[in-house]
Every structure is written in structure tokens, then in C-alpha cells.
């Protein structure tokens, strides 16, 4: 039990460190992640000032890792925020108008649950044909909002039949006040847990997309892209694989640990 707790704490601190590193990134590593230096191809770690070595084009792995971290966190944060705002708003509306809209939303969430979200995102990005930060954020956000909508609809529906909410309605208090004072505070525990887990899911989704070469501009530093490029040189230059893989695992585990702690704290 205590060992598990220590592990969770470690993962949580790690997540904080990673976020801090992402924010301070440009000040920590001055190298340009895009700069090609054919003389430094496959340079092993700790040589010529390259902390984590270089890749097949002589680009600095540490600098690319940092750029990829910023990219990942940015996409995940943006997509989570969009899914959260959209899903919460739609879930609340559906809970309020139980009859038609509520049923429609349930159908939508069932559809998105049975349909692989990832495939949907891939096809949307492919169809749009434009790569870039905004496209990815919007696509992932617009595809995954039903996760939030479903939870909010379920919890808010039961909340709207709660006697204290009925009493508030009988006072004819304004909708905004009802929402802010009585409905949203009751949703905070489950929403905060969901936010963190969704954030982790978005990091994985983004890495998977960039692994397939979708979404990020050509040559941009992404963890998925780095993993993909490393495959051919797995045996000769293992640092190209290990660095992004380890970071991805740590980031996702850290986020899950945070979610777990929140869930325990609110239970």
C-alpha cells in the first residue's frame, strides 16, 4: 500500500516536472530541433555536447524530445479543454431536456463508443488534408467530447431530480445561479478525475497520430514521429527509440497517477 502510494507520488511529481520542463523548454536547451548536421549522424549520447545523442539526420535528440513534449502537452491540453467545454455544455443541456435531446445524445455517445474514435480522428485529419496544431486540437476535441457529455448527462440528470435542486427551482432562482451554486460544484469531483484521464488519453492519441505521420507538419519534432523514425535504427542507435518511449510512458503514467489520487481524494 505504502509502496504503491510512494510510486503514485513519484509519478505525480514527475508529471509536474515534465510540465515545468515544457514551459521552460527554450531556456533549457538552446539547440534547434530542426537543424540537420550530417557530420553528427547517429552520434551516441553524451558526445560533443549532445546529451541524448543525435538521430539519422544529425538532429539533437534532446532538443527534439523537448519540442515534442511541448507539442504533445499543447495538443492534449487544447483537445481536452475543447472536449470538456463542449461535452459539459451538451451534457447539461441533455440532462435538462430529458425527452428528445437526451435520447439523441445517448445515441450519439453509444455511436462514438462503439466506433473507434481514433479511426474517426485519422480520417477527419486525412480528409481535411491540412496539418498543424489547430487542426489536431480541434479534431481530437470535436471527436472526444461525448466522453464528457455522457458523464455530465448521467450525473446532472440525477442531480436535477434532487430535492435541493427542486427547492432551488421553486425559488425561481436564475439558471446561471442554479448552475454555479448547485449543479456544477456537485460535478467537480468526477469531472476533475475525467479531465486528467482524458488528458492522458489525448497524449496517447496524439503520439499515435504523429507515429502514422498524420497531423504534424513535415519534419516537426513529435514523439510519435521520433518513434517511427527510430524503428529502422533500433539496434544501431537505441537511444533514438528509448528517449521518446520512456518520456511517453512517464508522462502517461504520471497523468494516470494524478487521476488516481484525485479519484481517491474525492471518493
Amino acid at each position: 500500500m505504502t509502496a504503491q502510494r510512494r510510486l503514485l507520488r513519484f509519478a505525480f511529481i514527475l508529471l509536474l516536472v515534465l510540465v515545468a520542463v515544457a514551459l521552460l523548454g527554450p531556456f533549457l536547451v538552446a539547440r534547434d530541433p530542426m537543424r540537420i548536421d550530417l557530420a553528427a549522424r547517429f552520434l551516441a549520447p553524451l558526445q560533443a555536447g549532445h546529451l541524448l545523442g543525435c538521430d539519422q539526420l544529425g538532429r539533437d535528440v534532446a532538443a527534439r524530445l523537448l519540442a515534442g513534449l511541448r507539442w504533445s502537452l499543447g495538443i492534449a491540453a487544447g483537445a481536452t479543454l475543447i472536449a470538456f467545454l463542449l461535452g459539459t455544455a451538451i451534457g447539461l443541456l441533455a440532462a435538462r431536456s430529458r425527452a428528445l435531446f437526451g435520447t439523441a445524445l445517448r445515441q450519439v455517445t453509444i455511436f462514438t463508443q462503439s466506433f473507434p474514435v481514433f479511426v474517426l480522428a485519422v480520417s477527419i485529419v486525412a480528409v481535411i488534408g491540412k496539418s498543424g496544431f489547430a487542426t489536431l486540437v480541434l479534431t481530437l476535441g470535436l471527436v472526444t467530447w461525448p466522453v464528457f457529455a455522457r458523464v455530465v448527462q448521467a450525473e446532472a440528470s440525477s442531480l436535477f431530480t434532487r430535492e435541493y435542486v427542486l427547492a432551488a427551482e421553486m425559488m425561481q432562482m436564475g439558471g446561471a445561479r442554479l448552475l454555479l451554486r448547485h449543479v456544477l460544484p456537485a460535478l467537480v469531483p468526477s469531472l476533475s478525475v475525467l479531465l486528467v484521464f482524458h488528458f492522458a488519453d489525448m497524449i496517447i492519441a496524439e503520439s499515435a497520430l504523429s507515429f502514422l505521420g498524420i497531423g504534424a507538419p513535415l519534419g516537426a519534432a513529435t514523439w510519435g514521429g521520433m518513434l517511427n523514425e527510430s524503428r529502422a535504427h533500433m539496434l544501431t542507435a537505441p537511444w533514438m527509440l528509448l528517449a521518446p518511449a520512456a518520456c511517453l510512458v512517464l508522462l502517461v503514467v504520471g497523468a494516470h497517477a494524478l487521476g488516481q489520487r484525485l479519484r481517491e481524494a474525492t471518493a
Binding site: R162, E163, L166, A167, E169, M170, M171, Q172
Partner: protein, 270 residues
């Protein structure tokens, strides 16, 4: 003229009709009890009068004007106390906040005036001011119901709906809350629609009683009169069951009919 008038009110959920053309009148300062078993339409009546469900047909008038045609704020004149004390109060708020919120909504006045009003409300429901900073979890069931009553009174209603407000409480707490309802009527002149399945409580509190059975009003009248000489078979059975079951079972003919489960409809047909 009566203060609250329910005319031919029907409530339906999908295909099931919970309340069929029920009519009743509540005069100012009166306590009218609505009795019936579970599924009789009591709660549907309460919720329709409270404006929480939309009636299928019929009207609810307050001072002669149809509530459905008036601005919604006029419904503030009707407030409700619910059955479940644990769900009636927002667990996140203190008693002070719970009582202050309706006063803010009414724009009752500056903080000092509201604090004074909260003290008055506490006195009305016989609660100690020391409870003001507690949250519902730190209150007993009876105290929670008193706070819920105070919150309802804060809106300065003319009609108080009590929907099985006592049935989740233990016997001695029920008794003191019955006294509280009686004293509230005396002190504030509020009219109370007291919904209950407990005839013993009804007999002690109400002026008039209205009996619901399968969504219909089957009997209505002066409380003492109805309980002393019930007319409808269901009311007879209810009076026998709650007031003196031992005597009912000593009558061999009644015992036989009960044991055979002769339903009230069958008797009504005869």
C-alpha cells in the same frame, strides 16, 4: 374565495395517468391533508401544484388567477418541504448559506437585514442559532427538516406543501414536527397542504382531509367527520387499518373480506 384552487387536474407520465381530474380547494390559513397509499397520485398532485411537473390538463389558481398564465415568479408563493431530509439540503452549503440564498434571490435587503431575518426564521422553526455554521451532515433528520421548512418560509410563501415531510423521521421527531406545523399556522397564518399516508398525524393536524385513491379524489371533507364516518370503501379500510386495526380484525365479516383481499373497486361496484 379559496386561496389555492386545483381544478380538474390530471397528471400523466407517458401512457400512465397518475392523477385523474382531481379538484380541491385550500383556504387561507387552512391545513388540508391529502391522504392515500403509494401510487395514489399524492406526489403527482404535490409536484404539479409546485410547478415541478406540467399537468396534462386542468388548472391551478392562486387568488383566482391561473398560475400557468402568470409570470413564473408568482409561483414563489408556493413552497415545498420534501420527504427525504438527506436530499433536501445541498450538502456543500452551511445552514446560514441555505437560508441566506432565498433572501438574496428576493433582494430582501443588505446583509444585516438578512441576518436578522435568518434569526427570525430560526426562531420560527425552533432551531438554535449555533447550528448556522454547520453543514447538513452535522444535523439530525429532524433538524434538517426544520432547516428545509425555514428555507421554504424564507420565500414568504402563502402556501406550504409538505410532501410526506415526516415519514422519514422517527416517531418522537414526527410528533414535535407536527406541533411545529401547527404553531407555524398559528403564528404566520400560512396555509398548508399536508400530504401523508399517516392518518394518525392527519387527524392531529388537519382541518380538512382529501382522500386520493388510484389517482382520483374519492372523498373530501371535514377531517374529524371523514375519520369518524368514512363513506368510500377505501377510506373505511384506511381508517380501520391506521386508527384501530385490532377492532377491525375482531369483526368476523370484515376479517373475512380483508383476508380474501376484496379490492376496493369491487366494493365500489356493488
Amino acid at each position: 374565495m379559496s386561496l389555492l384552487s386545483v381544478e380538474q387536474l390530471s397528471v400523466a407520465y407517458g401512457r400512465t395517468t397518475a392523477l385523474r381530474a382531481a379538484s380541491l380547494q385550500l383556504a387561507a390559513g387552512e391545513i388540508l391533508a391529502v391522504v392515500g397509499e403509494s401510487g395514489s397520485g399524492k406526489s403527482s398532485l404535490a409536484r404539479a401544484v409546485a410547478g415541478l411537473v406540467k399537468p396534462h390538463s386542468g388548472r391551478i389558481t392562486l387568488d383566482g388567477s391561473d398560475l400557468a398564465l402568470r409570470p413564473r415568479v408568482e409561483r414563489r408563493a408556493i413552497q415545498m418541504v420534501f420527504q427525504d431530509p438527506d436530499a433536501s439540503l445541498n450538502p456543500r452549503h452551511t445552514v446560514r448559506f441555505i437560508l441566506d440564498e432565498p433572501l438574496q434571490i428576493l433582494a430582501y435587503g443588505p446583509a444585516a437585514a438578512r441576518a436578522e431575518r435568518i434569526e427570525t426564521l430560526l426562531r420560527l422553526v425552533q432551531l438554535e442559532p449555533a447550528l448556522l455554521d454547520r453543514r447538513p451532515i452535522a444535523l439530525s433528520g429532524g433538524q434538517k427538516q426544520r432547516v428545509a421548512i425555514a428555507r421554504a418560509l424564507a420565500m414568504q410563501p402563502r402556501v406550504l406543501l409538505a410532501d410526506e415531510a415526516l415519514s422519514a423521521l422517527d416517531m418522537s421527531t414526527q410528533s414535535t414536527l407536527l406541533d411545529l406545523f401547527a404553531s407555524l399556522r398559528r403564528e404566520t397564518g400560512i396555509a398548508i397542504l399536508f400530504i401523508s399516508h399517516d392518518l394518525a398525524a392527519v387527524r392531529r393536524l388537519a382541518d380538512r382531509v382529501c382522500v386520493l385513491y388510484r389517482g382520483r379524489v374519492v372523498e373530501q371533507g371535514d377531517c374529524a367527520q371523514v375519520l369518524a364516518a368514512p363513506q368510500h370503501p377505501y377510506t373505511k379500510l384506511l381508517v380501520a387499518a391506521t386508527i384501530d386495526p385490532a377492532r377491525a380484525l375482531q369483526d368476523p365479516a370484515f376479517l373475512a373480506r380483508l383476508a380474501d383481499g376484496v379490492s376496493v373497486e369491487e366494493e365500489t361496484m356493488q
